[in-house]
Symmetry: C2
Subunit: 97 residues, 2 copies
DNA sequence: TGTATATATGAACAATTATTCATATAGTTA
DNA sequence: TAACTATATGAATAATTGTTCATATATACA
């Protein structure tokens, strides 16, 4: 007997799909320590501003990051503790292989 | 200061990529309850035998499932408690959105 | 107002990937 | 051995997706 219906399964796979790209994971990893603006993220993870912006859009749409304006910079941070939890569980698994 | 190097980030994203497909998540969900052979999985989640077999190959290669032979059936089960943990954390996140 | 900086976005392209279909392999049983 | 069942796999196809490049938008500051 399955407790989880098909729609939810798709939502879950969509969630993990977001974590399934190295640029996005780099962004998430960078934001664990502190909130950062777009160009700080780009330089920290060594990815073009455009690519970071495209990926932030996806992270934003999935509500995995939040942001606030400050001057003409936009500071991004992780949306909630779930994001870090999922990321860290992934780390753990990798470390134990 | 990042604690996690680039190689590991890629490994982590590769791991989540595996969870980022609904057929694979359906298989994982089906295997939480009990071990199942290929055709049982296929009929339980309503996906063709070939598609299930292709995805099991990927899950096997990532060491997320293990298997044993019994007669001419091959029974698959989740490799370790991490797999279920990651899946359930994904569920939790979805349920709280 | 004009210039510089920060961010977002559309289009194009390349690469990856999941499914289907056909078929191969292997074990079981009559 | 022959027929049947279970599983795996290669090739082809369609769809998705990440990056780049060019450019748009918006804010700050001189």
């Amino acid at each position: 007997m399955q407790l989880i219906d098909e729609d939810k399964i798709i939502d879950i796979s969509e969630l993990f799909k977001i974590f399934g790209d190295s640029t996005r994971v780099k962004i998430i990893n960078a934001l664990i320590d502190s909130e950062l603006c777009v160009c700080e993220i780009a330089s920290k993870i060594n990815v073009s501003q455009s690519a970071v912006s495209h990926q932030l859009r996806i992270l934003k749409a999935s509500k995995l990051v939040k942001y606030k304006k400050n001057g003409n910079c936009i500071y991004y941070s992780l949306a909630d503790e779930h994001v870090e939890k999922i990321f860290k569980l992934g780390c753990e698994h990798i470390n134990e292989l």
